[in-house]
């Protein structure tokens, strides 16, 4: 309980003996953390169990399968490359957009703010169908497909699907960072003769830096876990558009549950690393 004693929550409760309250509020947390750890451990233990006929661990036989290793390796690379591109574009879009939402008296602000949230609310599969419909059935989408960038059933489609959903995350996270920067700093800089751009670049952006980076990492993590919209827009073609979640789905559909679970464990490891990085950069409590 040492860690609990030094936490701000127990400090706020005062120094007297309030053990029942401490236990009362920490038990649900401990139970939930234990549940998550148990679920993940069960997955790893299940993967490591021996095959009933050969006695070899499933994990070892998965690793020994060259074709599967190749497929997962390709999926990992494709996931990394595509999600990084999506996260960079989403963050570049999010910085001005979030700054506008945070600082400017944008007309129909409430409406725009709501529209930004929509990709997070729409069920992912439906978002995928909506994107497919846009690119293949609407005049504007067809023009983009024919003249700018072929999207449907291509690798670019992966980035478009990830970007569509993840940008909403980026804008939310970066806006939260700008909201925490006191506008007075900019006002002071401008009263001393700095231009709006100069004040933004030298004052607001550096002050919001860790929030922006944390937003970027969360956006990237969201993009790497994207599944249904990618399946609908880019297709799930092994060796071409099989990002990690699609590889998990393909293996699950072909009865290879062990491979699917191995991919899930790999993704959890990536997510855990991302979240640690996010928290190191001061991301906790920033988003909503």
């Amino acid at each position: 309980m040492g860690a609990l004693d030094s936490s701000p929550v127990t400090d706020a409760l005062g120094g007297r003996s309030d053990r029942p309250l401490r236990w009362g509020i920490s038990l649900p947390l401990v139970a939930y953390v234990a549940l998550i750890v148990c679920v993940l451990t069960a997955n790893v233990v299940w993967l490591a169990r021996p095959h009933p006929d050969t006695g070899q661990s499933y994990l070892a036989s998965l690793y020994a399968n060259d074709a599967l290793r190749g497929e997962i390796g390709y999926a990992l690379k494709l996931s990394m490359v595509s999600s990084l591109i999506s996260a960079i574009i989403a963050t570049l879009l999010a910085i001005p957009s979030a700054y506008a939402l945070s600082r400017l008296r944008v007309p129909f602000r409430a409406l725009i703010d709501t529209i930004v949230d929509l990709p997070l609310v729409i069920p992912p599969l439906i978002a995928g169908i909506a994107l497919l419909l846009f690119f293949r059935q609407s005049g504007m989408g067809q023009w983009i497909e024919n003249h700018l960038l072929p999207v449907v059933y291509t690798q670019q489609g992966i980035v478009v699907a990830q970007f569509f959903i993840a940008s909403a995350f980026a804008i939310r996270a970066v806006k939260a960072a700008f909201d925490q920067v006191n506008p007075r700093f900019e006002a002071v800089a401008r009263s001393l003769g700095a231009s709006g751009l100069h004040a933004f670049v030298t004052i607001s952006l550096p002050l919001a830096k860790s929030g922006v980076i944390a937003g970027f990492i969360m956006t990237w993590a969201r993009a790497i876990g994207e599944f249904a919209p990618i399946m609908m827009v880019a297709g799930s073609t092994p060796g071409k558009t099989n990002v990690l979640p699609i590889s998990a789905f393909l293996n699950m559909s072909a009865g290879n549950v062990e491979a699917a679970i191995a991919i899930v464990v790999l993704m959890v490891a990536i997510a855990a690393g991302t979240l640690v990085l996010f928290k190191q950069l001061g991301g906790q409590g920033y988003i909503w």
């Binding site: 690379k77 494709l78 490359v81 506008a100 400017l104 497919l132 690798q155 933004f200 073609t237």
Partner: protein
């Protein structure tokens, strides 16, 4: 002053647009068409060694449960004809939605004929052929702990049964039909049903993960799980089995190549590969009872 504040967002928006345009230029790079991020990986050793594609490529919407034979057939077809078949493996319902929305692609091979019927009704299919069959069997956990020997045994107290959702997949649709034919009241089975599943592989996974004790399953899907499950076959006929069909889509820009793929799949080499993956090719000679031969 507020007007000047728009400069920053505008500059960034221009930057983003620039990046998108650069992305757009990807397709102008030689050989980079549709593969901007990573070069497409060869799907098998055979394919990697084959001669360069004759330039044609067919796009196939395929049920995810039949990936294994289809990938093997594709590699062989490319090796022999130089025509590359690019499959997208999804749930058959998703594939149907994609066909409807994308208006693009050459071939459709749903996991279950029920979806092909819908594609035909919507006027999407130029031509179709039956290439194999799905035959229903009872799939139980390894060791058959509940001693299930026939359909009636699914009604035994304490047997946790999983069924396909009748509205979502043909195995569910067929389970209802089968119960009617066998005069087993649906409500009586319903007492033991603990979950409905959207696809046949999900049913298999549920037995494998011990979430259910038994289910009605397609034979070749059940064959994927023989390490962790057992199969109890029962007598079937045409009415209680489902044809696996391959159709040429009306949107195909290379219908001749698509037709030759169709002929290849129903020809001796395609059939050999389906058989190797435990698909029933002739209802008189179903995959189960198992003859002991495996890969």
């Amino acid at each position: 002053m507020p007007n000047r504040a728009w400069i920053v967002p505008t500059l960034f928006a221009c930057g983003v647009l620039g990046i998108l345009l650069v992305g757009g230029c990807c397709r102008l790079l030689p050989g980079a068409d549709q593969t901007c991020l990573l070069p497409t990986a060869p799907q098998s050793a055979t394919e990697a060694q084959s001669a360069p594609a004759a330039g044609q490529s067919l796009f196939l919407y395929c049920g995810a449960g039949i990936r294994k034979p289809v990938e093997e057939i594709n590699a062989l077809f490319e090796q022999q004809t130089g025509v590359r078949v690019e499959p997208t493996f999804t749930g058959s319902g998703c594939a149907l939605a994609q066909i409807e929305m994308a208006q693009k692609g050459d071939l459709f091979m749903p996991g279950e004929d029920w979806f092909m019927e819908q594609a035909v009704e919507r006027g999407r299919i130029l031509e179709r052929r039956t290439v194999a069959y799905f035959v229903p069997v009872i799939m139980v956990q390894r060791g058959n702990p509940h001693g299930i020997q026939e359909l009636d045994d699914l009604l035994k107290p304490g047997v946790r049964v999983g069924v396909g959702e009748p509205k979502a997949c043909a195995i569910g649709h067929f389970t209802v039909k089968l119960m009617e034919l066998e005069k087993i009241p649906w409500d009586e089975l319903g007492r033991n049903v603990v979950a409905h599943f959207a696809t046949a592989p999900e049913l298999g996974n549920a037995v494998k993960l011990k979430a259910v004790d038994a289910c009605i399953q397609w034979d070749s899907i059940a064959a994927l799980y023989l390490d962790d499950a057992e199969v109890v076959p029962f007598a079937v006929d045409e009415e209680t089995s489902s044809a696996i069909t391959l159709g040429v889509l009306k949107t195909s820009k290379q219908p001749e190549s698509a037709r030759s793929y169709l002929q290849f799949m129903e020809g001796p080499e395609g059939q050999r590969i389906f058989r190797k993956h435990h698909f029933t090719l002739d209802l008189e000679d179903p995959t189960f009872p198992w003859d002991g031969e495996r890969d």
